[in-house]
């Protein structure tokens, strides 16, 4: 068990290392001279040379990479040219909590609504309810989230005036204010996952309900709710967790768009503004944070399998 976990962790670190090499190389390929940008108008050959030495840009590439990697791991991510603030502070303390709050609310919403909806349409296969759900899942998985967000702003913000449509209020400072500000963004981001979870729950549950152990449970006289919600659900946990892990990338990229629709100052806004301002250091920080989140979650999913399915426990 420990060996299995250690192997997975090692593989994950390997992938992260490759991502860091690739993103470092890309950063070096980026047009524009960072020294020119930092110096601005006070440009002289001496200042140029001293800054180059100070930043270590006169060293060989491999050495620069290891220097960068050491700084990255220890949290020294450099300073933003435009904001004049440490990038680490900006990314971790200001932007990341916003994105994580958004992603977690959307995920919670889609699981809490999606699983019951999927169970209902699996147990009532072929009914009108099932037909409505299948149209919803088809629309939900292909509808552009950023347009959905604008539609929600128009309906709930402008027409009905029910929810605020812009900005972030931290729920740990003002809980109800935070919930109100997060409602529309969370719905916007969750629709794709909701539809995905409904589809997966329905398809897998239909298959599970045809298994012999379900017939056995029914023959023992167990009530229908227990057969479906306990025996059935327990056995679709595996595929459900797998799909959630694989789709986390979609959650992160959906968050980037949702943040722009609702002006939430998260990682997505950070990267977008950095691209517009040509701040490659921040783009790279954003890329690394996203990759870390995505890969770590997939690692957790891999490690969770033996707990979800006793058959996968190494003996």
């Amino acid at each position: 068990m420990l060996l299995f976990a250690a192997g997975k962790v090692l593989q994950t670190l390997m992938v992260l290392l490759i991502v860091s090499v690739v993103s470092f190389t890309l950063l070096k390929l980026a047009p524009g001279d960072p020294i020119q940008i930092m110096l601005g108008t006070e440009n002289s050959p001496e200042a140029y040379a001293s800054l180059m030495k100070q930043l270590g840009l006169d060293r060989p590439m491999v050495e620069q990479y290891f220097h960068w990697l050491k700084n990255f791991v220890t949290g020294d991510w450099g300073v933003s040219y435009v904001g004049k603030a440490p990038i680490f502070q900006y990314a971790f303390v200001e932007a990341l909590p916003v994105t994580l709050t958004l992603a977690a609310s959307a995920l919670a919403l889609s699981i809490l609504i999606g699983v019951p909806l999927g169970v209902l349409s699996a147990t009532r296969r072929g009914s009108g309810w099932d037909a409505i759900t299948s149209v919803f899942t088809l629309t939900g998985t292909s509808f552009p989230s950023f347009y959905l967000g604008i539609l929600l702003i128009w309906l709930f913000g402008v027409k009905l005036g029910l929810f605020p449509t812009m900005g972030f209020v931290a729920p740990w400072n003002d809980f109800w204010g935070g919930v109100a500000h997060m409602t529309l963004p969370a719905i916007t981001l969750s629709i794709y996952f909701l539809a995905m979870i409904v589809r997966m729950t329905r398809a897998n549950l239909i298959e599970v309900l045809e298994q012999p152990y379900i017939a056995a449970a029914r023959a023992r006289g167990e009530p229908n709710w227990r057969v479906v919600w306990v025996h059935g659900l327990r056995n679709i946990l595996m595929p459900l967790v797998t799909i959630l892990g694989l789709q986390l990338g979609a959650l992160l990229q959906g968050a980037v768009l949702t943040e722009t629709v609702f002006s939430l100052p998260g990682i997505g806004q950070m990267i977008t503004n950095a691209v517009l301002n040509r701040e490659y250091g921040i783009v790279q920080a954003g890329v690394m944070i996203t990759a870390c989140l995505f890969i770590t979650t997939n690692l957790l999913v891999d490690l969770a399998y033996p707990y979800l399915d006793p058959r996968l426990r190494p003996r």
Binding site: M14, V15, L16, I18, V19, V22, S23, L26, L29, A30, P31, L138, T139, T141, S142, F143, P144, F146, Y147, I150, L151, I153, W154, G157, V158, G249, A250, L252, Q253, V256, L257, T260, V261, I271, T272, A274, V275, L276, R278, Y280, V283, Q284, G286, V287, T290, A291, F294, I295
Partner: protein
């Protein structure tokens, strides 16, 4: 009785037509979706003939006029440009970028996936880790990273989204190669002394290309979504290009008093994406024996 007469008329037609009709009747959603996609493609190709106004023409007498105003069926935007015309021209960008990006992604995926599937040892290991690294980033984030280096523009968006799609494509190509490599006919060709390159070219490549084409159909809608997302963020196609993502972003600021500015291109994008994904699913179900009912 009515059904019977319908069958009689059908049987008089040539066999191929009746087969097509039978297919259409059992796949009604697929046919509708394919028709919608065809309409979008045709109006993109013939945009100058279909659109009532040039996409950049400003009507000084009609800023932000609502739909159904005289001479502007779907209204105008904040610059007085006709929304219907801009949306029709926008289909050109959406489809060109979507298909272009998928083409680049599929080609890159074919090369890397074939190389990873056919090589062994250290090369295969290195290529696999490279594919893992490509898959470690969501496509939109990777496209943003490339855009930050390449800059804005239609060609750059195609390239950035295309490169971002290489990871998923190469994974499926590699899986297909591994499966085909193990088949008896490949082994037989090897025993007969056929050269390795000839085996790859005549036996493995044709068997990889077809599932790749099916994959490509499925991913077009995703490419359109990612590229319009880039434009929506304001870092994809540059204004005043009539790109849907860009138009939706422009309309976002006016949503409280002129919701149609975002509504017209947004609805067009949503309809195209839904139609493309139904077509993609239909193609996959038809050609993937595992999914056939």
């Amino acid at each position: 009785m009515v059904d019977l007469s319908a069958d009689v008329t059908l049987s008089k037609q040539p066999a191929r037509v009746s087969a097509i009709l039978a297919f259409a009747r059992s796949n009604i959603f697929f046919v509708i979706a394919a028709t919608v996609v065809a309409i979008f493609v045709l109006s993109a190709v013939f945009a100058p003939l279909v659109a009532p106004h040039p996409p950049l023409d400003q009507d000084m007498a009609a800023f932000m006029s609502p739909p159904l105003t005289e001479s502007h069926v779907l209204g105008t935007d904040s610059f007085g440009r006709d929304l219907l015309s801009r949306t029709i021209y926008g289909a050109r960008y959406a489809l060109a970028i979507g298909f272009g990006a998928v083409l680049i992604g599929a080609m890159g995926g074919l090369i890397i996936g074939m190389a990873a599937g056919l090589s062994g040892g250290v090369t295969e290991w290195a290529l696999m880790r490279f594919i893992d690294a490509l898959l470690a980033l969501p496509s939109l984030i990777m496209a943003i990273a490339f855009i930050s280096i390449l800059g804005q523009g239609v060609d750059k968006v195609i390239l950035a989204v295309g490169v971002a799609l290489i990871g998923p494509f190469s994974r499926t190509v590699r899986a297909d190669v591994l499966q085909i490599k193990a088949q008896a006919f490949v082994e037989a060709a090897g025993l007969m002394g056929v050269k390795r390159l000839a085996i790859i070219w005549r036996h493995i490549l044709p068997n990889v290309i077809f599932p790749l084409a099916v994959q490509a159909t499925i991913r077009v809608s995703y490419a359109v979504l990612v590229s319009s997302g880039l434009s929506f963020l304001g870092i994809g196609v540059a204004p005043p290009t009539p790109d849907w993502g860009l138009m939706i972003a422009e309309g976002r600021s006016f949503v409280s008093f002129a919701p149609w500015i975002a509504g017209v291109p947004g609805t067009a994008l949503a309809i195209l994406l839904i139609a493309l994904s139904i077509v993609g699913d239909g193609v996959r179900e038809h050609f993937d024996p595992k999914l056939r009912k």
